[in-house]
Symmetry: C2
Subunit: 186 residues, 2 copies
């Protein structure tokens, strides 16, 4: 939907605090009144945009047709590190939502729930492989790493290729059940 | 220095885009003119603040007296996940700087250099243990994970204890040389 795409773009470029309904209306080619009609207020628009961002990430990361759990998790996570506009915009807006949630209690619960959904999806596939000591832990570590690597890439501190390479190493280790044990164990 | 502490606080609370020299002057109890006298312009103040944030993180994470490389790296990284005001403020401002650098080319090079310094310090200690296949890779992965976990904790998607637990698992795996190899290797 054009309004939610425009809102995502606005958050990516100006942050949550700098998101202006007037700019979104202009970008989407609709009136400000129409936005208020659909979303009631700025908080309502923000809520639906966060949902849109989660759903869209979900769409572009669940296209994997791989049967093997390792390949499937690799596909799901590596698709977050792609140099295409939808992914760049989504990840940038997601980073802004995280940063803003620190001082915006109204965002925190929704962001926590969206994060949980993502973790559960990855944990489910990791669990199918039956190798990780604790699939939920593995999923929390891998998705947190994706967020950290994504921000480094987007902010110009790391190349995309390097971020993907580092992530692959971490996925392999989780799938060998090599993470989460005490030192000296292997 | 009071001005740089106030600037860090301002970035943490309002983001880089929302950082106002007037607010910083009021918070630090100095005149706006004094700030411009010291830092020339807003960009100069921002540059010195990023430096201050890196240096301060450096101070609170290098207090480890541990001789063993594993204990030392654990101390250095886990000190980034502490519920004390200086760490919260520093990490929040750091997250804002990362998010802003995406559209602020003037921040990117300095942020990249500060990240590199951090990675080099960790890689150096990891290397002393002589177990990781590639100490620089290990350091890049661990510091990226710290950033991801820190943002999850600060934004209320994860408890501090959980973040620390997940990080410990990742450090142990890197110190067993268990990360970065191909699947099926162990």
């Amino acid at each position: 939907m054009a309004i939610l795409e425009a809102a995502t773009r606005a958050i990516a470029r100006h942050g949550v605090r700098g998101m202006r309904v007037e700019d979104i209306a202009a970008d989407a080619g609709v009136s400000v009144a129409l936005i208020y009609y659909h979303f009631a207020d700025r908080a309502g628009l923000l809520r639906r945009t966060l949902e849109f961002i989660s759903d869209r990430a979900n769409r572009y990361t669940t296209v994997s047709l791989a049967a093997d759990p390792f390949d499937k998790v690799s596909d799901m996570l590596l698709l977050e590190l792609q140099d295409v506009p939808a992914v760049r915009e989504n990840s940038t807006a997601w980073g802004e939502l995280r940063a803003s949630a620190i001082f915006a209690p109204e965002l925190r619960e929704q962001l926590r729930a969206a994060t949980q959904t993502w973790v559960d999806e990855i944990a489910d596939v990791v669990g199918q492989a039956g190798v990780a000591a604790d699939p939920v832990e593995a999923a929390e570590r891998l998705t947190s790493l994706v967020e950290g690597l994504s921000e480094r890439w987007l902010s110009g501190s790391m190349t995309l290729e390097r971020a993907r390479h580092l992530l692959r190493g971490a996925i392999s280790a989780e799938f060998r059940g090599a993470v989460g044990a005490e030192p000296g164990g292997a």
